[in-house]
């Protein structure tokens, strides 16, 4: 059995009267792709933001390779080895693709507070290697502000890999992409996860992506986990079917 990279126990978060995340526990192994799915409003994004430090949990704890992450700001969590991509891509639009990666590398190597050597001459080979991995090397000199959406997602992936992470957190990695691009990006992610022995947790709405690429799937509804298992067992789970398709018994209730 491989190493458990991410562990969360009893995560809870309330917004006023809404229990957005209620006693959620999960774990991801090295080399594993774990999909977090659920209908709109199930608490996926809140759960995600508790893991990456964007939100502070009311209760529960998160550990990365045994080290507690609870209460740390996002930048500290990144330093410990967590790479992120966003639901709506966030890159530095006033820089070229390569410069975006160089920024992440400069930060990783602690060179941000330096004032003399030109940034664009540093870590060129390293950034090009990362860009080659995600297939963006040909576009390295283009400004991020003009890229197509699918390409931005790949730049984000390369940035997420820049600090040699142990864990990848991807919030709806294929949202807004064309179907063919979705498959390509997830194939790419999967091969990187396998090759580098990363743990990868992602949320996703596209069921083809989920069932085609996840090793394991966890399902949330109304803030709580309702199912966990491989594609076949989740597909056949009656509770999951009820949430996604409705059984007629509960939908009239309230």
């Amino acid at each position: 059995m491989s190493v458990t990279v991410l562990e969360a126990h009893g995560l809870s978060k309330r917004f006023g009267g809404v229990h957005a995340v209620n006693d959620v526990s999960l774990w991801v192994h090295a080399g594993e792709m774990l999909a977090l799915i659920g209908p709109n409003g199930a608490g996926k994004s809140t759960c995600f933001n508790l893991l990456n430090g964007q939100l502070r949990a009311d209760a529960g704890e998160v550990r990365l390779l045994g080290q507690p992450l609870t209460g740390l700001p996002p930048r500290a969590i990144w330093r410990l080895g967590v790479g992120r991509t966003f639901q709506i891509t966030a890159t530095f639009a006033s820089m070229t693709v390569r410069e975006n990666i160089q920024c992440a590398l400069l930060s990783h190597h602690g060179r941000i507070w330096t004032f003399w050597r030109a940034a664009r001459r540093q870590f060129v080979a390293e950034s090009d290697a990362l860009l080659a991995q995600v297939g963006m090397l040909e576009q390295a000199d283009r400004p991020c502000g003009v890229l197509a959406y699918g390409d931005l997602k790949r730049v984000e992936l390369a940035m997420a890999l820049a600090n040699e992470p142990k864990l990848l957190l991807m919030d709806e990695p294929t949202a807004g992409m064309a179907p063919s691009e979705r498959i390509a990006l997830m194939e790419l992610t999967r091969s990187l996860v396998r090759a580098r022995g990363l743990a990868c947790l992602f949320t996703e709405h596209d069921m083809d992506v989920v069932f085609g690429h996840a090793d394991r799937i966890i399902v949330m509804n109304r803030g709580a986990l309702i199912a966990e298992g491989d594609a076949a067992s989740v597909r056949g789970n009656p509770a999951v079917r009820e949430v996604y398709l409705g059984s007629g018994e509960t939908s009239g209730g309230h």
Partner: protein, 621 residues
């Protein structure tokens, strides 16, 4: 006890006028998102027009109370009409421009109105004699209290009640409140924004005009009313919360009381006190007393900052050639030219330091002159009290400015947009007020004289070389930092704070670093300027000085690295050659600013770069 009561009543009376002006400003901002510098000019016009109209009415038919009130109302409505006209002619065209450009455009209007007022009413203060029925005093707690002030106390609450009725009970008011919350949504619901915006400008300007009208009987109409009141009005609006009328009322009460008691208790520090109150309120409640976080104006510009590429070699050669010609000037040019070149070197660094935080950092400061002035005063005070020679003074200057930059920046970089701009303005006003009011220490308005360079640099040519070495050297260093990892990190926090944090960058600390570096640069410029002029004055820290820096940066182009250099050279040359030759230079400068904003928003260097990139088929983001 009696003294407290009288001061309290005086404070209440002053609060009324302050509330009228601030409520107009806050209503205009709430709906149009424009921070209207010209609001102070509307207030001034209100006072002048009341002077003209009331006297005309008196000439026509005696000094009836009704005519006095009619005069005030007519003047206010006339100002409202002027405001609406300016909205239709100018502001309507720039609602989608970046905030900063809107502010500058309204500042252009300020300059134009200043010269218009000078042309129409002349330079003398114009007092309006109070009619006999307003000259009485009332006996309160054994003191004589002016009856007019007693009336004023009730004007503020009355206007607040009227505004409340307007906003809660009329269709126009409902639309104004809706637009304050979400103007895109209001537009999507089919409301004609143009009519709404013009209406709001009419309302806001009328309130400003009314404010000017009601203070006229206690003071006079004079030409500096506009900038004097606008700083106070900004404070009230920001303390109350941008867009909140009840907030403006509370803040007006607070600020007026602080002033009323401050003038008795700490007469030397009334100005500092007001801005200190604002700074404290913003630290505790970053959006003001009753303000709420700004809903982002959706897709306001959609503009993406362009990629910064290495400068083409030709630019480097041109710069080196220009520097060489400047350095050789003592051999062929007269002393006036050499003096001008020193000034140019100083302003290049001043503009470049502001650009450093404004361009790559996106931190727009409206009080950059504070650090310029602190540098100048650092050198002068060091000479006066510690007898430090020039060599040490030149080091002291940036250090003093940098230290204040660290303190002020610590608060400022946590805010953004208009609140950030206003807080920097407030800090600058604190520094200005200290230099102006603390006469024993700083010499007040008379400044500090005799700040001369050391023996070896006293000759004009030698000082030019020193100025070039320091100012141009520092400018090149700033440029170097923009291309270095720190500059990239700074741009990263501007482009996407979310992503910056997600790659381990501490955005607040990086912005603070940029703030301090900019303050150091401006401080050095101020120090060099002080020794060049031989004296320092509070005007070095004034609002117009801060605006000069903004103009230089914007004229050159905020999105280019060479922009501030080009802008400083162009602005100062323009000032010395064209503007000084005209009597009405303020009007011309104001008009030029408005034209710049309307027609040339990317600045000179931005324009050239756009052409350059297009000609070479480079992709611009």
């Amino acid at each position: 006890m009696d003294f407290i009561l009288i001061q309290f009543l005086t404070g209440l009376a002053n609060a009324s006028a302050l509330f009228l002006i601030a409520s107009g400003l806050t209503v205009i901002f709430g709906v149009t998102r424009i921070v209207n510098f010209a609001h102070g000019s509307f207030y001034m016009l209100g006072a002048y027009l009341t002077w003209t109209i009331t006297r005309a009415l008196w000439d026509w038919s005696g000094r009836e109370p009704a005519l006095f009130i009619a005069g005030i109302l007519l003047a206010a409505l006339a100002v409202g009409a002027i405001g609406a006209l300016i909205e239709i002619v100018l502001l309507r065209r720039i609602y989608r421009a970046p905030e900063l450009f809107q502010l500058l455009a309204t500042f252009g209007v300020v300059l134009m109105i200043q010269d218009i007022a000078l042309a129409v009413w002349g330079p003398e203060d114009l007092p309006l004699p109070r009619p006999p029925w307003l000259r009485r005093f009332v006996e309160i707690a054994g003191s004589r209290f002016p009856q007019y002030d007693l009336i004023l106390i009730f004007v503020g609450p009355a206007v607040l009640a009227l505004l409340w009725f307007l906003f809660q009970r009329t269709r126009f008011g409902v639309l104004v409140r809706a637009a304050t919350q979400d103007r895109e949504m209001v537009a999507a619901l089919g409301v004609d924004q143009r009519v709404l915006f013009t209406g709001v400008f009419f309302l806001g300007s009328t309130l400003a005009g009314l404010g000017g009208a009601i203070v006229l009987p206690s003071q006079s109409a004079f030409l500096q009313m506009d900038l004097a009141i606008i700083a106070e009005a900004f404070v009230v609006v920001v303390v109350g919360g941008l867009g909140s009328v009840p907030g403006a009322f509370l803040a007006a009460l607070l600020i007026a009381q602080v002033q009323a008691f401050g003038i008795v208790l700490v007469p030397k520090a009334t100005l500092v006190l007001v801005f200190l109150v604002m700074a404290i309120v913003l630290m505790i409640r970053p959006y003001g007393l009753l303000g709420r976080p700004q809903a982002h104006a959706r897709a306001a510009t959609g503009a993406v900052e362009p990629v910064i590429r290495p400068a083409p070699a030709i630019l480097g050669w041109a710069g080196a050639a220009a520097l060489l010609v400047a350095a050789a000037a003592p051999f062929f040019a007269g002393p006036y030219m050499v003096t001008v070149l020193v000034e140019l070197a100083v302003f290049v660094l001043f503009a470049a330091s502001l650009h450093f935080m404004m361009g790559p950092g996106g931190i727009v400061s409206f009080g950059h002159a504070a650090y310029f002035g602190l540098g100048a005063y650092g050198a002068a005070l060091g000479l006066r009290y510690l007898a430090v020679p020039m060599e040490a003074g030149i080091v002291l200057a940036p250090l003093l400015a940098g230290a204040f930059g660290l303190v002020f920046g610590w608060f400022a970089v946590r805010l953004s947009g208009v609140y950030l701009a206003m807080l920097t303005l407030a800090f600058a006003q604190i520094v200005w007020a200290a230099a102006f009011q603390w006469v024993e220490f700083t010499g007040g308005d008379n400044g500090i004289l005799g700040v001369w360079p050391s023996e070896w640099a006293r000759e004009k040519g030698a000082y030019l070389w020193l100025a070039l070495a320091l100012c141009i050297g520092a400018t090149l260093l700033l440029r170097r930092i923009i291309y270095a990892p720190f500059g990239y990190a700074l741009r990263a926090t501007r482009d996407s704070e979310l992503r910056a944090e997600a790659i381990g960058l501490n955005a607040v600390r990086i912005r603070l670093g940029a703030f301090v570096i900019a303050a150091l640069g401006a401080g050095l410029a101020g120090g060099v300027y002080a020794y060049a002029k031989g004296s320092v004055f509070p005007t070095y820290i004034s609002i117009p000085k801060s605006i000069d820096a903004l103009l230089m940066v914007l004229l050159g182009g905020v999105q280019t690295v060479s922009g501030p250099v080009v802008g400083a050279l162009a602005f100062h040359t323009l000032f010395l050659t064209v503007l000084q030759a005209f009597t009405w230079w303020r009007f011309i400068l104001g008009f030029a600013i408005v034209l710049l904003v309307l027609a040339f928003p990317q600045g000179i260097a931005g324009f050239v770069r756009q052409r350059w990139e297009r000609a070479r088929g480079l992709e611009a983001a």
